[in-house]
Symmetry: C2
Subunit: 524 residues, 2 copies
């Protein structure tokens, strides 16, 4: 029997509850509960591997993960689940008034998961696993050797499998790439996304040229020697300041920072890494991951241990991390309230650096080669380059062997830089080797949504900057929780955006934000 | 398809391999492989909860564990598994010569696990889970309140359920307790165990009286102030000395020390706790848990990810931990080789304490109330008391309400002490509240096996003490691996003992060891 804890409803936050008015829907609820729990357990195997596990256990852990995935797949693809979904769909169609939004979303997400698990034939899943596993190894070797030819034929195979995947998932689809994109950003129309990123490119490229023509901002004082333990202590202090609850999470070291939900909203853990020569990258990364954690920790308890108990899409998830990393974490107002924390942690050099200089340094813009090190303005250009290329690859408009030339030309056109080799060019990111096509654009969607949400937040809290400057941050998280976080996956990304901001994806907010900010920072 | 890696066979260590000569046996192998992986994943959920998990996740983790156990139970009880086992049994009976010991053990253990999963009716499993969960809570409350009456009716219920459990598992059993005991020490005859522990009691009680009449050993210098971090550093150093491989494990803190196999022989982790006023309890605990880890890490790779890839019984497992904690860890020879490590870690007081005094202090004997703090001599009396009582309880010879009197009388008769209240008396251990009846005797079986194995080890390595005194320990672990560890669960406990020592359980070895040691320590 399902135990469902509704939250206390107020006018601003109506209760979230499952009604489950039919036996079929109750059965479906229980079946998907098992899937949700197994998904969380799968996440623990991964978290442990990346943070705690002794190295010598890599092999056996890989096998354990494969076993759990097989078990999980059997649950997702179970014919009994398919029947329960079909009956539930019929009940919803016959008596829509009897069911809640949570009920409808439960059936929708069960259908999505079941379809994905049943549509891909077993031989394809096996081929795909082998291709991405071998591809990932060859990508690493090719990157080390700075030789794209060692990875090119793997990438061709992976692109071909992506096309097959799209075909299996939606045989009627006109644009295969749209099918892949939909797995990360369900419900979002690809054309809308294309239009948004195109507008963003058109606004960013000339703005960047103006910035590049202006006097460069000094950030030399951000480099130096900043000991590991002090950086970690500062990270924990900043996390506490922005409301991360260590009773429901922890901070560990990992090769690549990430956040993982092991039982949202009760257990959402962060990782980071420390560069002892750079004082801000760890802090920014921690605020970024905390934005993801705020989302998962803010999900309504009624959605706990259900397939709706996670963030609704990659883009919306990224909007929450970008809000805390950039919109708040690189703002003058936030640092007005918190600069003393940084100064206490590192009196040298920050007792000697005026706050305004520090904030400007945080917002220094530079046409650069590496996406993950990019500033707020150029970041989207890195994404747009990948987005344009992967669409053309899947559509067969360009060939894998021509990628180095295409990549480098776009970097020159949009960012004014040219990679000296493919390892800092088209081989810098893991995504394609892992089969993640359709994922990159969600990073920039995240930036768009972040700015759009921030505009609404500012309407709700016109005194936002003043409160941040006084050291407050809780009111922001509360607003996010009440409007965005608590809904989990009940509403799909763009639908949620409409409910929060009154309009669908609109890149104008991000363009206005970037234009205002960098005009100011660079005195244009 | 199963991937099986045979070890390199030598005369001393014949290869371990599955032959799997029938399709049924191969199917069985794959089915039980899933069970083995899920068991390891279950262990990770528990390890994480006890060492890493934020407190606020306790509730959701409990639910995740329950879900995984349900999934695991479904695999263990699957009718398809039952059919595969029956077919495999028929094939083994028809052509025994075609199959290896590993094949036979695989079928035997699959049958055990399947029988346990199918024989207990669902309503019983639910009642049992509720009774032990509530019982555990009430035991905690009763212990805090020092009031056994708050727990007595729970214990009555649990005892009754134990009888039912025995009845379900073996309706023809004449002694229900023997059925419970068999779940922890499969293949060991209860009468043999009873006889052994009785002999042990008869030898120990008079020896203890002689020790108590002698001049007490001074151990005052073991108390003092020994900072946490230094104790942990010393623990890691000692673990490295006795051959624990941190590439396949780690050491963490936990409320109660334990070892857990998360993928034996590749991932076996330790925990400990630190008392800053006591320098040896952490080190002894670490050596104890490392003995368990040595066992799991020494299992043949051919048994990895199979239901034979763990220790074969509670008693044999305990024998390995007791060997490293007591037979080695409290020996003069070991400390002759390693005392400088302790002296380096804590110059005060150990630069001033002669080695002989330190070793004597490690072996101080005291009739005491608390099992987990007991010395090597009195420890078995604590066990024998519980063994005698739980047998009588299950047999209905004594009533739960009479327990306090019975317990206290036995403590007076065997150990010469009387508990001032039931919290340091019959409520000191968690076992009964958790439904662990039949487990206690395996602790003393572990001590018996440890001494018995040590006698054989000493025959193989007559220079054992001299080598230990020179700082060597690897030869002991190698001997254990080749004779005991590598076999995993292929041979049941007493069968393994026969193969290693040439005879079944024989308490004379432990009696001789204890008599020699304490006669020497106390100059009797």
């Amino acid at each position: 029997m399902a135990t469902i804890t509704p939250t206390k409803a107020t006018k601003a936050t109506p209760a979230i509850a499952f009604n489950l008015k039919t036996a079929t829907l109750r059965t479906l609820f229980e079946m998907t509960r098992t899937i949700a729990d197994l998904d969380a357990i799968r996440a623990l195997l991964d978290w442990d591997q990346q943070t705690q596990m002794p190295l010598g256990a890599n092999g056996v852990r890989g096998e354990q993960i494969a076993t759990l995935e097989t078990v999980l797949h059997a649950h997702k693809a179970a014919p009994a689940l398919g029947k329960a979904i079909a009956k539930a769909e019929a009940a919803l169609a016959a008596h829509p008034e009897r069911f809640s939004d949570a009920d409808r979303a439960l059936v929708r997400e069960a259908r999505r998961s079941h379809a994905e698990a049943t549509k891909l034939p077993e031989h394809f899943v096996r081929d795909y696993a082998v291709a991405t596993s071998v591809g990932w190894e060859h990508w690493q070797a090719a990157r080390t050797a700075q030789d794209f030819s060692l990875f090119a034929s793997d990438l061709e195979r992976i692109v071909d499998l992506q096309r097959q995947k799209a075909q299996y998932l939606d045989p009627a689809a006109k644009v295969p790439y749209a099918v892949l994109f939909d797995t990360f950003e369900p419900g979002m129309d690809l054309a809308t996304c294309e239009q948004a990123l195109d507008q963003l490119r058109q606004a960013t490229v000339p703005l960047l040229k103006r910035v590049q023509a202006a006097q460069q901002v000094d950030n030399g004082f951000l480099q130096g020697t900043f000991p590991h333990d002090q950086q970690m202590a500062l990270s924990r202090r900043i996390l506490a300041i922005i409301g991360y609850d260590f009773d429901h999470g922890r901070l560990d070291l990992a090769a690549h920072p990430f956040m993982t939900g092991l039982g949202s909203p009760d257990d959402d853990r962060l990782t980071t890494r420390v560069d002892e020569h750079d004082v801000v990258s760890c802090q920014m990364s921690v605020m970024h991951e905390c934005g993801h954690a705020h989302y998962e920790l803010g999900i309504d308890p009624a959605l706990k241990r259900t397939i709706l108990g996670g963030g609704t899409s990659s883009g919306i998830h990224e909007s929450q991390s970008r809000t805390w990393e950039n919109i708040i974490g690189r703002s003058a107002a936030f640092w007005q309230g918190q600069y003393h924390v940084l100064q206490d942690a590192f009196p040298t050099p920050f007792k000697q650096v005026p706050l305004a200089d520090f904030v400007r340094a945080l917002n220094r813009v530079e046409g650069s080669l590496i996406r993950v090190e990019a500033d707020e303005l150029t970041y989207n250009l890195h994404i747009i380059i990948r987005f344009e290329i992967e669409k053309d690859l899947i559509a067969g408009k360009i060939a894998v062997r021509d990628l180095p030339g295409i990549w480098n030309q776009k970097y020159y056109d949009y960012l004014g830089v040219t990679p000296p080799n493919d390892s800092v060019g088209l081989m810098q990111d893991v995504h394609w080797s892992a089969g993640l096509f359709g994922y990159f654009p969600t990073y920039s969607l995240g930036n768009c949504y972040a700015a759009q949400f921030a505009a609404t937040l500012r309407q709700a809290h016109p005194d936002m900057d003043a409160r941040l400057a006084q050291g407050e941050t809780g009111f922001i998280r509360e607003w996010q929780r009440d409007t965005i976080h608590r809904w989990g996956s009940i509403y799909q990304g763009d639908d949620l955006c409409r409910r929060v901001t009154g309009e669908g994806l609109n890149p104008a907010h991000l363009i206005a934000y970037l234009t205002e900010k960098f005009t100011r920072v660079y005195g244009l």
